[in-house]
Symmetry: C2
Subunit: 700 residues, 2 copies
């Protein structure tokens, strides 16, 4: 299944340095788009020509607006959709997993046992789930780019650009009360103000057992044929009552059919399709190998912790899912970049684009590729620091870092702050920072020790960060002291520190705050260098390349993914693989076959309910299916719609052949994988006996 | 599924020129065999050490003899096994297909509808099926090689060798009445006299519908997971009564289990594992591309014929199966040779072997590789003639050629004849030549026209063969005239010509006999050149290389496959593919899933009986499974045995990853695919209601 969106921060801190992968540049993808189902299209620029030519379909503005307003962003990294007049939202179980984990205890493990609210009063509030609905879009390119003075130094231009973005967001938030994000598209070619209706009173309605949702476990992840009920239902409340959304998707009577035109709305996290060759090479040779190495460290640590007791295994379950998922996804992406043919095609496209640019005296992007290439060399030089001068895998350390940065940043004028501390972002940030979700000190300590050891191993004892963060201490002793001594696990403590501001944080003797203060200078130095010397160049040169692209091709393509709402089109279609045909759908028969084929051994074992109620299920009911839609991580939970705008499926994965999609769309074997709408109904009724929930979905 | 054995002639004529692929040379495969389940072992030299070390299994001589005597060779290209005290033999449906096709008519299509003898008197005699059981094996290397005078010219040595083989066969046949074949093993390193009990009164007992046996059709061929009831039952009769074999395999109560040690006995057709690099290169660059091109011509012609009417489609069904099967198999094999890694490994092994040979003054094989390489150049020079100066796809033309050659050859002393006309081979040859199986003149005419056109296209009008075979005639007119005028479709006519001898054939005005007489000189010239200039060198140098191998390694390995009885060992085991785990078995659930997944569209549609009796079937019953056993085409129909010698499965295919096995065994993903013994029973009882047949299998 797709990793959750990488572009969206989820642990109370933004990490703009990681977002750079999706940040820049340009190549020549346009001519092919018309002949395939390629594209993650923004709602202001849907591919009318392709839809007409390939599928003879012309959506009305009403169809488009309805699709937008019934689509939901899950702010911890996924997508979803309104599917009833009473605010019911459906997404993937693996998108809900974080909330389920936070709501579970040793005694009530909703991840393992599932959750089933059979009456309204059994619906349970989520600790820190924020949903967004995109209510308006406004082109603010002229204003953002107009604020940049071309004669200023590059780092100043970068500051001017970002300051203007923050001003626009602040004005909009104050004026409309909507969450307001200025979104950079086309690598700086356009800037748009996206306003979101924000929902934070979200209650869990139903989630199946993890084993039914994630049937086949890590081996079957990114695999098709597949047999997963990867679904979860929430209800949006407003003023203590279920929301009555004007726009929601009607449930299709028959669900997806072979060959049918279908649409996916959702929030693809990030793609790197327009990256330059030098950026891709940096990605291939340094970023991805390093991340995979780091993920292997995390995996080892989580498994060692899990092995200690069933309760510890329960606590680490969503983390292990995330790590395994990321390893499989990044390995697939890395294989894409290691494919000499793909890189040769990319290089040829870039060369052809450059040649066209050379022929046009009015386009000033000739030197941009070289400058971006130069920046990659700088990044390579500090690659180890960028990768290891941080902690990634401890919630408490994340809180401590956010708190230390928070109180410093909010003292600055709004438009001088790092973007994650702008006024417009603060409400959502505090929602996460003050989350009542449980913290497991033993898990925190275990991970901190492993991560400290990793920093020592990778950076050496003489590194400034290592000296400040660890010094001569034994990683285990240090982790033990920090976790034992901190009170940050209590959300009230975190609230008080924010309320007390810089003074309170600087006076704090909490050992984790002391630790976070000690490493703050290194972080600031590295981030400043990154913004001034890397981001500024990539933004300015990227903008030139984007302009060149617009000048040569008009706005005939779509921007790289940015965890903002997109529409993709495609068709329900099997494919050829390993000398045979892979069917467009699977059925419940296949679920029982796979289980029996492995003698019901994990991870292919059936849940008690699937065994007990097998006789009730119509085994020929479609369970999962595949489409050619262009999706990526962040699309998890996206609705699949037919041309009538009806709900026919629930995206939950891409097959392994789709992972190269970060760099290039392919239609031959790459497929989006979805739960079939009929399979959802059959599961709700026959396996879970959630009759009223099923009835709500198909209510006239 | 594996192609039927290529080494065995099946159309009334041997084609020794095709057999050369399996004929020669040597490389260094031995050191690896001990660490894997590699090997198609002869029964005189089973891998005792590997079995002990890997599986702690030591078969008794009784176990070995029993396995040999209960194994059956299907002489039209497959394997089988005795499975009851009343002479019941089981093999694959696709091995039985030729007989089924010959027994079917427009009104009674047993291929489509299946065949079900519910009482003894309903068992139907097969038109021309010969089964063999290997009753004894005798090393005659000293006698064969002793007859060769080293100071004679090479072509004389070759004649001496073959003459001695024919003398041994004749003596044995006369003395024992058994079918007696001298088998060349280890590329001329050893010669063995194999004596077979021959059975020709074979009656069909049961065959499922082709759609159940070959479920998934050509797309699923060579694919796993798989859901095929690829089985057929025959009964051997002797003196009009069911044979009571002393040796037959007991049916296992539970069938194959995950991880279990299993054995396969059977008749792998041919492998090229010991070929030299120069031979493999000739194979890769000329033989396989040409054969694939020719198969494409055949395919096109068969489909054009089939499209004309349902009855024509019925008539061509087994031919299309054969062509599609061969195309998929050869494509897989060709990909193996195109794999640079595999070829580099082969080359390194050959080099290491040569280096060892150089270090030993007592081994005289130093120049053998160069001489064999030189011969490949000669073969390449006449490659087009070898490939296209013949007709391959017309039964009538095959009969005509055999008759013309027959009457000339049998006038010669026995030891001077081509091997297929030696006395020891004549009985089996006549059994096929006089077969009452139906001939379809319209199909014959259609194919002859296509094949004539192909010869013109490939050889040109000036070629001596084309001039003699076609002249200036239009291919369609010629085919029409030949088929319209001939009476060879009547087996009595063929019998009379044989009885009349050379005089009768030379006097015949039958247009096909006239045609065959006209092309006979070209065939004789080409064959003589091949035997004198190619076969002789490959045999003599191959023998030197084989001696070198024995000298360096002893008899620690197995010979290339020669459609003679072999035993392979392995274990029931799934594998990793496309990022997930492929299960060791499938179940009936999966059959119904695959059908529903394709909306029951062909070739994934279910038969009427599978639909109607679904409710009777225990869907969790194992249907197919995979093992690591080393098999290849010709093993179709082989029994899978557990260590107790019980029948646990029926080999019917190799997965696509196993096709490279012609050149090298791999254990990672290559698997033999079998019907599970429990699936066979469940199918017989619940789907076909063949209760007494099922009871016979499990009779105590």
């Amino acid at each position: 299944m797709p990793p959750k969106a990488k572009a969206l921060p989820s642990k109370g801190e933004k990490e703009p340095m990681k977002a750079r992968a999706a940040l820049l540049a340009a190549a020549l993808t346009l001519p092919s788009a018309a002949q395939t189902d390629e594209g993650m299209w923004t709602f202001d620029n849907l591919p009318a020509q392709q839809l007409k030519e390939r599928y003879n379909f012309v959506p009305t503005q009403e169809w488009i607006d309805h699709a937008r307003l019934a689509s939901v962003r899950f702010n911890d990294g996924g997508s979803g959709a309104f599917v009833s007049a009473n605010g019911l939202v459906v997404t993937n179980h693996h998108v809900a997993l974080g909330q389920l984990q936070k709501m579970s205890t040793k005694e009530n493990d909703y991840v393992k046992a599932g959750f089933f609210a059979r009456r309204p009063n059994e619906e349970r509030p989520c600790p820190d789930l924020e949903l967004n609905v995109l209510v308006s879009m406004e082109d603010v390119s002229a204003r953002v780019l107009g604020a940049v003075k071309a004669d200023a130094p590059e780092k100043t231009q970068n500051e001017q650009r970002k300051a203007e973005m923050s001003r626009i967001e602040k004005e909009s938030t104050e004026k409309t009360k909507f969450r307001s994000d200025v979104v950079e598209l086309y690598q700086g070619g356009e800037y748009w103000l996206y306003r979101y209706k924000k929902h934070t009173d979200i209650r869990l309605v139903m989630a199946p057992e993890a084993q039914a949702a994630f049937y086949g476990g890590d081996p079957d992840n990114f695999t098709y044929p597949r047999f997963d009920l990867d679904m979860a239902f929430f209800r949006v409340y407003e003023d203590g009552k279920p929301l009555k959304p004007k726009d929601y998707f009607r449930w299709s009577k028959d669900g997806a059919k072979d060959g049918e035109l279908v649409f996916v709305t959702g929030h693809p996290g990030s793609t790197d399709r327009l990256n330059t060759i030098s950026q891709l090479e940096y990605e291939r040779d340094l970023v991805l190998p390093t991340r995979l190495k780091h993920l292997a460290v995390l995996r080892k640590a989580y498994y060692a912790y899990s092995a200690q007791s069933p309760e510890k295994a329960r606590r680490a379950k969503d983390r292990i899912f995330g790590v395994e998922n990321a390893i499989k996804a990044l390995t697939g992406e890395h294989e894409g970049l290691l494919d000499a043919k793909l890189m040769a095609k990319k290089a040829a496209d870039e060369k052809a684009f450059q040649d066209q640019v050379k022929g046009r005296a009015d386009i000033a992007a000739g030197g941009s590729w070289d400058r971006i290439s130069g920046v990659q060399g700088e990044l390579a030089r500090r690659h180890k620091q960028l990768s290891y001068r941080k902690i990634d895998g401890s919630k408490l350390a994340g809180f401590a870092n956010t708190l230390v940065r928070y109180v410093i940043e909010v003292e600055k004028p709004n438009d001088k702050r790092w973007e994650e501390f702008r006024d417009s972002a603060l409400e959502s940030l505090k929602f996460r920072l003050f989350s009542p979700a449980p913290i497991y000190p033993d898990l925190e300590e275990h991970m901190l020790a492993a991560l400290f050891q990793e920093s020592i191993d990778e950076l050496g004892k003489e590194d400034a960060y290592v000296k400040a963060a660890i010094g001569d201490k034994d990683p285990k002793d240090l982790a033990n002291a920090l976790v034992d001594g901190t009170t940050l696990a209590d959300p009230e403590v975190r609230k008080k520190l924010v309320a007390g501001g810089r003074k309170a944080v600087e006076a704090s003797k909490d050992p984790l705050i002391v630790w976070a203060r000690a490493i703050d200078p290194q972080y600031r130095e590295l981030r400043k260098w990154y913004e001034d010397d890397v981001q500024s160049v990539e933004a300015i040169e990227g903008n030139k390349i984007a302009k060149a692209r617009f000048a040569l091709y008009g706005k005939s393509t779509y921007p790289d993914a940015t965890f903002t709402l997109r529409l993709s089109f495609g068709r329900v279609a099997g494919y050829e693989l390993n000398t045979t045909t892979v069917p467009y759908k699977t059925t419940f028969y296949g679920l029982y076959d796979r289980s029996a084929s492995f003698d019901n051994k994990p991870p292919f074992d059936l849940t008690a309910m699937l065994i007990e109620r097998k006789g009730d299920v119509d085994l020929a009911t479609p369970l999962n299916f595949v489409t050619t839609n262009d999706i990526i991580g962040g699309n998890s939970g996206s609705p699949v719609l037919n041309s009538a705008g009806e709900y026919v499926g629930l995206i939950f994965d891409g097959n392994i052949q789709s992972l190269v999609g970060r760099y290039a769309y392919t239609e031959d074997k790459a497929r989006a994988v979805a739960v079939h709408s009929s399979g959802i109904l059959e599961g709700l009724r026959k396996v879970y006996r959630m009759y009223s929930l099923a009835d709500e979905l198909i209510a006239p």
